[in-house]
Amino acid sequence: MRGWMGKFRSLFLFSTLALILSGCGEENLSALKPKGYSAELLLDLMLISIAIMIFVFVIVMAIYVYVLVRYRKKKGQEDIIPKQTEGNKALEVIWTVIPIILLLVLAVPTVQATFDLADQSTQGDEGVLTVEVTGNQYWWHFNYRGEEIATSQELYIPTGERVYLDMKASDVLHSFWLPAIAGKMDTLPGENINTMYLEAYEEGVYWGHCTELCGPSHSLMDFRVIAVSPEKYDQWLEDMKNVDPEAQPETTTAQEGQELFNNNCMSCHAIGGASMGVGPNLTNFGNREKIAGILDPTKENLVDWIVHPDEIKPGNKMPANIVEPEEAEKIADYLLQLEHSSVGVDAPTQTEE
């Protein structure tokens, strides 16, 4: 009931409609199960428009059914010629004016919501987080402004407050869509920065998609947004700032893996730091929800990915066979033990519902 029309939701068709629609889709993914301010605002707007449209549809269908039943030609009437009506001014006025009124009813909240979602009044204020988002073929980079840290594929945000996203793309158009929390915004190459904000109500791992065709692996450019309480978020920030990229792993295979990683992967990937490389930043990789945004975080999947990335995400820029499979296993051991922060690992994901 936090939406701006929460008070009215019990009226009209809304409660029924909302009930029917909320049966659709998975938690933390579906736009019909909003878990954030924008998504809730947008669902309300959708419900208003659906209600108006159903109202119109029922009227059209009532006339339609009546006409088709009543005026079907019947046997023995073949020679009857119906009255050739020219039209009816009163009717024309009615079905012009009523739709205009209905559209105005829809237009007002539409314009309100459009301006509401474009609001940037608190951006840059003390304590308000802005994340610089960059879309790349086929991964997302998140740079936490003023914090000297960065993540890829998984965006951490505090719940209950606005987080602004300043978005652009490095290569072709992408679009950042987080249905359960907010809508979407395109990311453009060049100087154009698009801004939107997220406000998550609950802790959770939210599923996001790229929604602008960006090449063969467009459908595999998923990301996660992990919303945690502000206290946990501060803890996470602390953890991330204290990452030691040189830290020695415990097992020997992982140590060998670290060596291999430094020799083969560091030109594109980074651990720790805030700059965006050619490939994703791999800090805290051991706690990633998914490998490459789509694979379950098992060692087997990771080895597969390291050796044959092109078979998993066609057209992506990571070269295949950069290392032998045995070497890839060691690198996998190293990466999977990179657990720099345990914040968010217990956040509910949609599969637990």
Partner: protein, 622 residues
């Protein structure tokens, strides 16, 4: 029928006849056959897409090939199937509806067809030369400008050539309707199909140049090193989106308006009533056409235009619902109080009303700019535009074909098979696309090669695929019906439906000069007016005399062939400059043909009074 004549004259003569024809009725058939052919190709691509999306993580076709499929499905269906099928109806019907003997520029009519045809073939050749275009039918930069291979080059050249054909056809119909109307056929007596063709042609005139410009910029970026869309060199990728949609949104109305016209004629004929609110319908058509140019940016709500632009385009878009609503209600009230005869043509038209209303409703929902942040580029949009384009345009083409088939071929399509084709298509259509609205909101973006397991999208996608198979079955039955009708059905007279407009006052199919004597039009629904006065046919507006008709010409074919050859030259000169020879040969053929056309007088021929009198004795005049 023409096949009987063909057998007498031999196949080669028939082919030559069609290559050189400038007769609007034969050009209609050319549009029908090639549009139908491309419709089947586009349908096949759709089936492959649906099979790929039948289950999660499917590997039926590869990611790259999938992007080629969606690009070619969209491009083929819009430019190479829907447009020519609409032109087939316009060519077959509009000159007859206004009492003309041909279009204003018969030579250009032929040129328009051949340009479209060779453009379409060029585009589809890409399948065999290393990959079709893969940047979506919208071809957004920079994915398109950086797409490897020549796929996007084929898109640019193919659409440029066929687009020129469309522009020519549009201008031709504008001039035809302004200048070629029979005496008494005032603007406010024109049948709605003619009216909507008129408005559509105006839309083509203003919308296609935007596409032409966009394609030229794209062509120079890809082939000659310019940087209109290259941000690294100071270009801007959003320019393409604007140019594309300044064309692309009116294009939607270019597709649907003629069929609004067809539905109006069909509802009126099979209710045996004049169209309810004729002047309101005309006004609504013009208004939709006008507003169609004011709303292109609603395709770009998420591109970052800001809340002011978004709000303006949102409200403008909603406004289109008003004239569309006027149309829906006037159709309903045309049937109100009538004698509804449920023929196949009427069945498709009646099915159109709820289908299109749903498409219009989701259109208004999409117009709510903020809510579009959720809908945009998801399956909600896919559901919406298929409801409009299949539920409106394709239903309309089926309805129009059933309705005017006797006028084009002299035989009524078998009614039983017609209805048998309708039901699986209709049911399959709703199965396929209704669920897609929900899939979109549940988190399925558009143009996804695979959807992953565990996102709750499995059932919906399976239902959608099953629906697609039903649609395929309906289409196959329709094709069977065409063959069956050609072989088995008897010939019919000029007016099999007891219809109202001028095209039904002449034989089916009409003689190549259409009207022995130009008819005198005495009101809206001129044939109905005469019938109600107890007359058998139209009153002539002129005495029987010689008729001047244009000669056929191979030049339009040659001009288009030249462009086709030059197209390959432009595409491949990037790899090897010796391909420029193809450009010179192709452009030489085109320009040479144009020169021939300019220098050689072709004054046409006369059909003499004696021949006409002989024809009348055989029954043509009635």
């Amino acid at each position: 029928m023409s096949t009987a004549v063909a057998q007498k004259r031999g196949l080669a003569a028939t082919i030559w006849d069609y290559l050189t024809t400038v007769d609007h009725k034969k050009i209609a058939l050319l549009y029908l056959y090639s549009g139908g052919f491309f419709f089947l190709i586009g349908g096949l691509e759709a089936m492959l897409i649906r099979i790929q999306l039948m289950k999660p993580d499917n590997n039926f076709i590869s990611a790259g090939l999938y992007n080629e499929m969606i690009t070619m499905h969209g491009t083929t269906m819009i430019f190479l199937a829907a447009m020519p099928l609409i032109f087939a109806l316009m060519n077959a019907v509009v000159p007859l509806q206004i009492g003309a003997r041909d279009v204003a520029f018969p030579f250009l009519n032929s040129l328009g067809f051949w340009l479209f045809f060779f453009g379409g073939i060029l585009l589809n050749v890409s399948w065999f030369t290393g990959g079709a275009p893969d940047a979506g039918w919208t071809n957004y930069a920079p994915l398109s400008t950086t797409s490897p291979g020549h796929g996007v080059d084929y898109y640019v050249m193919g659409l440029q050539i066929s687009g020129a054909g469309t522009l020519i056809a549009g201008i031709n119909f504008l001039v035809t309707i302004i200048n070629m109307r029979a005496p008494g056929m005032t603007y406010m007596r024109m049948p709605l199909f003619t009216w909507s063709t008129f408005v559509t042609s105006a839309l083509i005139l203003f919308a296609f140049p935007a596409l032409t410009v966009g394609l030229f910029l794209m062509m120079f970026d890809r082939m000659f090193g310019s940087a209109f869309f290259d941000v690294a060199l100071g270009g801007n990728v959003i320019i393409w989106e604007h140019l594309f949609w300044i064309f692309g949104h009116p294009e939607v109305y270019i597709l649907i308006l003629p069929l609004f016209g067809a539905f109006s004629d069909i509802f009126s004929t099979f209710s045996r009533k004049r169209l309810f609110g004729y002047s309101a319908m005309v006004f609504a058509t013009v208004l939709i056409g006008f507003l169609g140019f004011m709303v292109w940016a609603h395709h770009m709500f998420t591109v970052g235009m800001g809340p002011i632009a978004n709000s303006i385009f949102a409200v403008a878009t909603m406004a289109i619902a008003v004239p569309t609503g006027i149309k829906i209600f006037n159709w309903l009230f045309t049937m109100w109080g009538g004698q509804i005869k449920m023929t196949s043509a009427m069945l498709w038209s009646v099915a159109f009303i709820p289908s299109f209303t749903i498409g219009g409703m989701t259109g208004v929902m999409l117009a709510a700019a903020a809510a579009d942040f959720q809908y945009h580029d998801t399956y909600f949009v896919v559901g919406h535009f298929h409801y409009v384009i299949v539920g409106g345009v394709v239903f309309g083409i089926f309805a129009g074909l059933h309705y005017w088939w006797p006028k084009m071929f002299g035989k009524v399509l078998n009614e039983k098979l017609g209805k048998l084709a309708f039901w699986p298509f209709f049911i399959g259509f709703h199965l396929t696309f209704f669920i897609q609205h929900f899939l979109g909101l549940m988190g399925m973006p558009r143009r996804y090669w695979v959807f992953l397991e565990g996102q709750g999208l499995e059932t919906g996608n399976l239902i959608s695929t099953i629906g697609a198979f039903f649609m395929a079955i309906g289409t196959v039955i329709f094709l069977i019906n065409i063959v069956y009708t050609a072989i088995k059905e008897p010939k019919v007279g000029g007016d099999p439906w007891d219809a109202r407009t001028l095209e039904w006052s002449i034989p089916s199919p009409p003689p190549h000069y259409n009207f022995v004597q130009t008819p005198l039009v005495r009101g809206l629904d001129p044939l109905w007016v005469e019938k109600m006065d107890g007359k058998k046919g139209m009153t002539p507006a002129e005495p029987l005399g010689d008729i001047h008709m244009p000669n056929g010409s191979i030049l339009p074919f040659m001009m288009s062939l030249g462009m086709f050859i030059a197209g390959f030259g432009f595409i491949y000169q990037v790899d090897n400059s010796s391909w420029l020879i193809a450009v010179f040969i192709g452009m030489g053929i085109t320009l040479g043909s144009m020169l021939t056309r300019s220098l050689k007088d072709d004054l046409g021929h006369h059909i003499h009074k004696e021949e006409l009198e002989a024809d009348i004795k055989k029954g043509v005049g009635k």
